[in-house]
Symmetry: C2
Subunit: 185 residues, 2 copies
Amino acid sequence: MKFCSDCGSNITHIIPDGDNRPRFVCDSCNKIHYQNPRIIAGCLPLYLDSSEEKVLLCKRAIDPRKGLWTLPAGFLENGETVADGALRETREEANANAEIDSLYTVFSLPHISQAYMFFRARLLDLDFSAGHESLDVQLFAESEIPWDELAFPVITQTLEHYFEDRKVQQFGVYYRDIFFERRPG
Amino acid sequence: MKFCSDCGSNITHIIPDGDNRPRFVCDSCNKIHYQNPRIIAGCLPLYLDSSEEKVLLCKRAIDPRKGLWTLPAGFLENGETVADGALRETREEANANAEIDSLYTVFSLPHISQAYMFFRARLLDLDFSAGHESLDVQLFAESEIPWDELAFPVITQTLEHYFEDRKVQQFGVYYRDIFFERRPG
């Protein structure tokens, strides 16, 4: 950040009076431009098929992790609820109609200043297909999950929690911190 | 937003190619300046006193809702976990030492593009006092909660959930959407 988005003057990275950490402050109008973590909202879309609940996964058409499998999720927009954002991403990435069941996993990723929130969701029909950001969309039984081809640790952990909880049919809400973990590629 | 923070050129509010909603886009370098909801992290600090768990509340020294009571909470900073942000706010607003127990309430407030996350927390000692943003800090038994002088609906709802859950000693995690609700003052 080099210029003030309000007045166009130069920005300096300094600790403002009464604050305790450096901020981007305008040299001219003194506006402080805060930067804050972003929320990624997503669904764990489930569909009862042949007596087993299957999970909808999307194969990523975009970087990072292009070609790997993910749950539908994306940046929450201003003016929408976290639950609505999760459903919107499910529509956009999988052309899928779902209903929220309940909040399920919350992950804090401080190294990239993101917080993920996944909801358990019921897929309402089998009328789904790859959206613009997906190469493929499929339902997976537990035995079919491509564990070695999942895109992000938050996806792996959400699926692990789900299959554990399913054994006892008790679904908690999980908050987890995930610290830096970067894999090649 | 009028000027590009990267190059200082003029900004236009338009729908970029491949997007579906208006963004702030630089006329010159084409950088898209996204705006996203912010996270407010806070604690429900509890202390076992005379066989009852009491709740730590802070009387706000700043607007909005100056003079009303709140739980310690504030904007999450880049680079910190949601739980660490909640503990930092508890230190800053109440000079209090606490430990996280578990995630407790999550509120989505789309009209102001905010998501609150409160954690149940254990107050480690009685060495607390008003921080810069507080006029007073006190422990309250259930019968002492100033219900008519609470600062925000998220505070009221978090306390209501807590006292209900405490009766049965089972603490869930609550996700709630809160739509526009503005009180005079």
